[in-house]
């Protein structure tokens, strides 16, 4: 017990926790952006090519099924394995397969199919009557996507983004296992491998605080978007 308290007061630990937290923030922030860039078009494509009953505006069963299958396969990969598989890709793009920046790439790719499904289901909730009205007024497909589907789905999209960020915090902690940096890395290397529970506790507490904070902000934004309507 004394030992735990003593190491808690250790200044070195706090600076490590601070820098790991920062690494996690950077990792999650960048991979959220990249996974959105990858996932948004896929999600939109999935929705617009789905069957007419599902609200698709350009139904294309073959395309939809192929894309849907690919998304499912990527989603069923255990994250840790996907990370290892994608390491060479990081080496090609970033030049290294170790460290925070190198982790962003597998993280983004791993989260993209998840984002795609979140976007697809958010767009599915848009009232088909509203889309029909937009069509009857002579909207092009692009106009329906950009001016109707996405704005109408905004509250669910916002909760989708919240969910994605929280997922990525979890994923990024796992990335620590293979030298990805961040709070997960700290917990494993110092907490687990060096038998120092203080590090473990600290890392977990910081992660919990981050998740709570993101959820709180995300809920507030969704509520604000709904209240404006």
């Amino acid at each position: 017990m004394m030992e735990l308290l003593q190491s808690m007061l250790d200044a070195r630990m706090w600076s490590l926790v601070a820098s790991s937290t920062w690494q996690t923030i950077v990792m999650v922030f960048l991979s959220t952006i990249f996974s959105m860039i990858l996932g948004l078009p896929i999600g939109v494509l999935l929705h617009v090519t789905s069957s007419e009953e599902q609200g698709g505006i350009i139904p294309h069963p073959v395309f939809y099924n192929v894309l849907s299958r690919i998304v499912n396969i990527l989603r069923s990969f255990p994250f840790i394995i996907l990370m290892i598989v994608l390491m060479p890709l990081s080496r090609i793009i970033i030049g290294t397969s170790i460290g925070t920046m190198a982790t962003v790439i597998p993280l983004s790719i791993a989260a993209a199919p998840f984002v795609a499904r979140i976007i697809e289901s958010a767009l599915k909730e848009v009232d088909p009557g509203v889309v029909q009205a937009a069509k009857a007024m002579g909207s092009t497909n692009w106009q329906i996507i950009l001016k109707v589907l996405i704005p109408e789905a905004m509250p669910s999209l916002a909760s989708g983004v919240t969910l994605t960020i929280i997922n990525l915090i979890g994923y990024s902690a796992m990335a620590g296992a293979i030298g990805g940096g961040g709070l997960g890395d700290l917990a494993i290397r110092y907490g687990y491998q060096r038998f120092n529970p203080a590090y473990m506790v600290c890392a977990v507490v910081v992660i919990i605080i981050m998740v709570e904070l993101i959820q709180f902000i995300g809920d507030k934004i969704s509520a604000r978007l709904i209240a404006k309507r």
Binding site: K135, G138, S139, R229
Partner: protein, 333 residues
């Protein structure tokens, strides 16, 4: 703009939703299409408004064929029609003014023009100063007014109303119908009104087509149809209307054996008395009423005629001579 339909057909699997419909909807009128649910009216309006392509047949706007347009032409043509819906279908992500602005935005109109036109349209539908209101804060009637303004934004020549008043209470229905009629005159619109409510046809339409299982069973000027319905479906619609009508006075729960319909000038004559004294027939009036259809008075009377069948036949013949439409009512109706 005149709309012509030629042998329109649309099947869903083995269901003939619209089966060989030919129709001319004259320019500058309010044209009603009435039918029970499942009669194919929604499909028909989707075909006429270019939202769906027919399996067979042609749709013309004036002389232009519109059922086989290419994708780009279709989008362009849709920008010249307006449409309103039962559930309003407004964008919840936009306020009232932004909803009205949408059809102009997608045509890339000048911002200043859009702003001015939106103000004009808000005034036209009686919602001045409510432009900033979020859609959820508006009542059903106000929502439909915004939808009408949005449909009219690009100065269309045709307005489609798909059950536009079915979700509204009777009072709001009347005010929305009055607004549609007023706008029709102001903008020389051709209004196509799909409905299952006979009172909508009575209060707003000039002509009507009655649709039953994909076919047009009756078509004509509304006052003609009301005074001399031909098909059973139409009579059914009319009887449901007269039963709920406030103007109908009813003394007896049992229906009479004859339904008399008379219109305009004949309403003023003491027909029943003169027929009674000429033939010796006894009238037992069960229910009667007068309703106003497009400014014309139409009378309905449900009655028994006695004392015997012989006299009744004579009375009926005499009534028919006096241009009263006599129907033998089925028992139980």
């Amino acid at each position: 703009m005149e709309i012509k339909l030629r042998n329109l057909r649309r099947n869903y699997g083995s269901l003939h939703a619209v089966d060989d419909v030919s129709l001319v909807i004259p320019s500058n009128t309010v044209y009603g299409i009435i039918g029970k649910s499942g009669a194919g009216k929604s499909t028909l309006v989707r075909l006429i408004s270019m939202l769906e392509k027919p399996d067979n047949g042609e749709v013309y706007y004036d002389e232009k064929r519109v059922d086989n347009l290419s994708k780009d032409d279709l989008i362009e043509e849709r920008r010249h029609i307006g449409m309103i819906f039962q559930t309003f279908n407004l964008f919840s992500s936009r306020n009232a003014a932004e909803n009205i602005a949408y059809p102009m935005e997608i045509c890339h109109m000048d911002k200043e023009h859009i702003r001015k036109r939106t103000e004009e349209l808000l005034a036209l539908v009686g919602l001045e100063g409510r432009g900033k209101a979020p859609i959820s804060t508006l009542s059903g009637g106000q929502k439909q007014r915004v939808a009408i303004a949005r449909a009219l934004a690009t100065n269309p020549s045709i307005l489609f109303c798909d059950e536009a008043t079915s979700a509204l209470d009777p009072q709001t229905t009347r005010s929305i119908l009055a607004l549609i009629k007023e706008i029709q005159k102001k903008m020389n619109l051709t209004v196509v009104m799909i409905t299952h409510q006979m009172e909508v046809v009575r209060d707003a339409c000039d002509r009507v087509a009655v649709l039953d299982s994909g076919h047009i069973v009756e078509e004509g000027v509304v006052s003609d149809i009301f005074s001399a319905p031909q098909s059973d479906v139409t009579k059914d619609f009319l009887s449901s209307l007269t039963n709920v009508q406030d103007s109908m006075v009813r003394w007896s729960k049992d229906g009479g054996h004859y339904t008399l319909r008379f219109r305009g000038s004949t309403t003023d004559e003491p027909i029943i008395s003169s027929v009674s004294s000429a033939t010796g027939a006894i009238f037992n009036i069960r229910a009667a009423g007068v309703q106003n259809v497009n400014g014309e008075e139409l009378g309905v009377m449900v009655t028994d005629i006695g004392p015997d069948e012989e006299t009744a036949k004579k009375a009926v013949a005499l009534l028919r001579e006096k241009r009263v439409l006599v129907e033998e009512t089925k028992v139980g109706v």
